[in-house]
Amino acid sequence: MVTQEWKWLDEVPDPELPSVSITDLGIVRDVRWEGDDLVVALTPTYSGCPATAVIEADVTRALHDRGVQNVRIERRLAPAWTTDWITPRGRARLSEHGIAPPQATLADGPIATAIVRCPQCDSTHTTEISHFGSTPCKALYRCENCREPFDYVKPH
């Protein structure tokens, strides 16, 4: 049983979206014991995301702090991470912290932009300012109702 181990990982925040834990982000794919080793399978969000190495170090440290001596990180590429794996709690926490959660999975190729809700005032009258934002996983939007700019986690 690894219920306790999952709970510990629930407490590890994403370094770039600290309101969300790595389990809420859906990047912890498997937790299992192999003899004395605790194996944690992680998948990267974007292939060049600089947070990947930080997350691996954070997981190892968090588990060491809770008395797990041998931690092994496994990088898992397939299936590729999708924002569909962000949990309902993760989505709620993103919203609470002013970041709009992803709306729908991006289809192959260009698509019509999804309706993005302003995390401040809930208006759907929003405009994409930039395809990219402060991290690889986000785009930049502006609310035309309350005029606040905000980050939007791109459907991926």
Binding site: P50, L106, P110, I111, F132, P136
Partner: protein
């Protein structure tokens, strides 16, 4: 095994060279949003290059990882297509170069995601999702610039005309491609030609841009014959690890 190593170098080197070139725009882009966009595209491409080159190193089994392959090969050992080493030029040149690449990479990665090599299939599936997003942006820009002002139209038409001759290399197969096809690892490059032309042709039409006539196409990048621009780019990219071997943060 050698053929698969060469093939992985081609995939990794094209991503790496385009990443390095795009990253050079940081703090020079025409607007701040583009600074961020070019940096993010570069970041994805660096990540993809690392996955391809790490695997290349494992296949080669000579103790080289992605860093060793990136920083300790000269231009003649690089296997990127010629398009990506073309200078950044003006913003239109960079957009068109990225667009031609994105359409090709998107098609190629879709085919590679069905590769008989599971690792290649996994990397391609991951990279393909990122490239779909890059393509959305670069296509959007081609249309905006082409169907924009008189000046933007003129500039982007110049870029299309100048870079067109580097698109033919995408579809030229050689013995390495044939070996990959035979093993079910990669697609026949020729099969990507029609879908590429269709997509690019449609976008150029929407952008009110003229599609260049068929003419002489440059070739040789995949076999290691490069223009001098690549050496300058690599000199800048490689100077630190070559001057201070083993340097770490």
């Amino acid at each position: 095994m050698t053929e698969r190593f060469e093939y992985l170098l081609r995939l990794g080197d094209s991503s790496l060279v385009l990443a390095q070139q795009s990253a050079a725009w940081v703090a020079h882009a025409p607007i701040m949003e583009e600074d961020v966009a070019l940096a993010n595209v570069a970041l994805d491409l660096f990540g993809q290059a690392k996955m391809w080159l790490d695997y290349a190193g494992e296949v080669e089994a000579a103790g080289r990882d992605a860093d060793a392959l990136a920083f300790h090969r000269d231009a003649g050992a690089y296997r990127n297509v010629l398009l990506v080493e073309q200078p950044n030029g003006n913003f239109a040149d960079t957009i068109v170069r990225g667009y031609f690449y994105d359409v090709w990479a998107h098609l190629q990665l879709a085919a590679l995601s069905r590769s008989s090599d599971e690792r290649i299939a996994a990397i391609a599936a991951k990279a393909g999702k990122e490239t779909a997003y890059h393509l959305r942006r670069s296509e959007d820009w081609v249309v905006r610039l082409g169907d924009g002002t008189e000046l933007s139209h003129e500039r982007v038409q110049c870029s299309v005309d100048a870079l067109w001759r580097f698109s033919g290399e995408f579809f030229l197969g050689d013995a390495i491609d044939a070996a990959m096809v035979a093993q079910g690892i990669g697609p026949d490059p020729e099969t990507l030609r029609e879908p590429w032309l269709q997509r690019v042709g449609a976008a150029l039409g929407t952008a009110t841009l003229a599609q260049p006539a068929d003419g002489w196409m440059q070739r040789g990048g995949k076999q290691g014959r490069h223009g001098e621009a690549l050496s300058y780019m690599l000199a800048e990219m490689q100077v630190l690890p070559r001057s201070y071997p083993g340097a770490a943060w």
